[in-house]
Symmetry: C2
Subunit: 371 residues, 2 copies
């Protein structure tokens, strides 16, 4: 694949309005949309980004709201704005060769009644209820962000791994001394901070933890995390910005990823490896696709095994960790993946149009001859 | 207008899935949809009703869910089912001459991208947030259920008052002795049961009240209603079925409608008048359109004035109350109104198609001549 498109495409990107593109602190989906959109513009495509008005982009920005919905406390029904936002894109569907939706179920019904094809990246989680909507529209083209995410029987056009801007993560050739383990992520039971603490306590290692505590997770945090924070062995840094995140991960000897749910991608693993720090993770969801087991970290079957693998993980090559991310989880890789999907879908559609027109013309000529 | 359509139309009706059609106890929208749909079938139209699977209808039923969503406690995100339901209708838009939506904002974006016209009846309330969605799609044809409901600057095709099945309400030529005042409606501050109680206490009249208490209104009920219920002067009957409702209203000397908000229609007023009982109401929203002031009740400017009008209201003709409903708020009236809107919209569209085709043909003939 070349970085010059053989044909420039007119592409619409639909981001959620909840957070701006790129997000100020956290927001996995909006970060991916930002990197993807800017790189598509650099490659010569004509891209329109439908997002909140405070977004920053190289594409033409169409504001679905003046600013990120989460910032406007006067809004009681955010879904009303998402409805209008998605509606606006499909009202203008004729202007695009392809529409790329990052808003999950909200674009499916509209995508299935307009002529322009839409491809849907699955960023969110599946619930009992939203699963039924995805199933109803299973013939739409979907992109999974890992093979492990393919839990539903949908029409998958490709798996495209999330890409990170590797150049924005400095490489740390050596961990800090005294050494520590890192945990980064929301403090929710699914991300497993309670297991990170147990592993540190079992092995005597220091542990530095960072991430946000959502309102719904407050009780969990207070009961299962807070009592263990002593500022010495177990440190809690709260929410961190990009620079602090790179420091936390890069200076660590090992990053722990002790999830308890099927993580669809897990950006933290890629970010840690980008700084040179290997990852020890629980084998659920995408973990075995993101870590090169025995080379850039260890994929474990239990939290005890995670603790046992620390000595081996210390011996892994930090250089190799970085190279792994450069090869598999860069923005270039991600955009190559998406561009190939767009070209295939748009190409198939153009071919169908050309073929139908050709058949029609032949039939007409034939009919004229017979007259 | 005749009850035989000059052309039978293929009509889709979209009801919410929350409650079945018709509703078992309460559900204003679903009751209107039920009466409308059955009468359209009787008039010879080909009607498809998109509603919950436990609905009863003369039309072809397309089930958006096996049963009313409110009955299925396993559902955490009911909106997912409404999404699929509405999506299904528009996927099949080509099968219909016209689509009639009773689901508010949820059908607007889809209606604006398919070729089949959709008309939207406004049943719900306007919020700060949903108002913006209606405004975005203001060129779609809307039907208001009273002139008072036209608070937004939308493309109103008509006002069509809700119609009730007058024959299902027995006429009560005389009120019960000893006489009493009736209040029927949800026990929420907007419906004003607190004012009904104050009016009864001020005048010494007995008051019988019925209706449901929603979870959100429990505190209001316990603080402002319950302390006054003594089972003698102030009686509370709880939720009532159709027969009990007709008895409560028909045996009353007067029905009070002491609302504190802009009621868009107010079925209770029509139901009370159908049984012969005049209504004294606060002048907000549709009240002055539904009551013939001085003939079938009194439209008042204050709750004190409502109390003062009781002696005059006792002298009104109960026969006239019933006739008023038969003339203005019958199902026949309502369906005449909707049928006229459908015929106009479908007719305009057919004319546009014919006109465009005629122009195209003329141009082609002209071009051939010139060759």
């Amino acid at each position: 694949m070349t970085s010059e498109p053989y044909t420039a495409m007119k592409i619409a990107q639909i981001a959620p309005l909840w957070e701006q593109v790129p997000p100020v602190t956290y927001g996995g989906t909006e970060l991916v949309v930002s990197r993807l959109t800017d790189e598509l513009v650099r490659r010569g495509h004509e891209v329109t980004l439908f997002a909140s008005g405070d977004s920053q982009t190289l594409a033409r920005l169409e504001a679905g709201s003046p600013r990120a919905l989460r910032l406007d406390t006067s809004i009681k029904e955010p879904i009303m704005y998402e409805l209008m936002h998605v509606g606006e894109v499909f009202q203008r569907a004729d202007e695009f060769d392809i529409i790329h939706s990052h808003v999950g179920v909200w674009s499916l019904a509209l995508a299935s009644v307009v002529a322009t094809p839409t491809v849907h990246t699955l960023h969110g989680i599946f619930t009992n209820d939203n699963t039924k909507v995805f199933r109803q529209y299973k013939t739409q083209p979907f992109i999974s962000i890992s093979d492990a995410q393919r839990l539903l029987n949908l029409n998958y056009a490709a798996t495209v791994y999330n890409g990170i801007s590797v150049e924005k993560f400095p490489f740390f050739a050596e961990p800090q001394d005294p050494p520590y383990l890192a945990f980064l992520g929301r403090f929710s039971p699914e991300k497993g901070p309670q297991h990170a603490i147990a592993i540190a306590k079992k092995t005597g290692w220091r542990l530095k933890m960072a991430g946000k505590v959502d309102v719904v997770d407050k009780k969990f945090f207070e009961e299962e995390v807070a009592p263990h924070i002593d500022g010495k062995q177990i440190e809690f840094l709260g929410e961190v910005n990009h620079g602090q995140k790179a420091e936390l991960l890069g200076n660590a000897a090992i990053t722990l990823f002790p999830i308890t749910w099927c993580e669809p991608f897990g950006l933290v693993m890629a970010e840690s490896m980008a700084t040179g720090t290997p990852v020890i993770a629980m084998n659920m969801g995408s973990v075995s696709e993101v870590i090169a087991n025995g080379e850039t970290g260890y994929v474990c079957q239990s939290y005890d095994e995670m603790a046992d693998m620390i000595p081996k993980a210390l011996k892994l090559s930090r250089q190799k960790c970085r190279e792994h991310v450069e090869t598999k989880f860069s923005v270039t890789q991600m955009v190559d993946g998406y561009e190939a999907v767009y070209e295939k879908i748009v190409g198939d559609r153009n071919f169908r149009h050309w073929f139908n027109a050709a058949i029609r013309n032949s039939l007409e000529s034939f009919t004229s001859l017979k007259r």
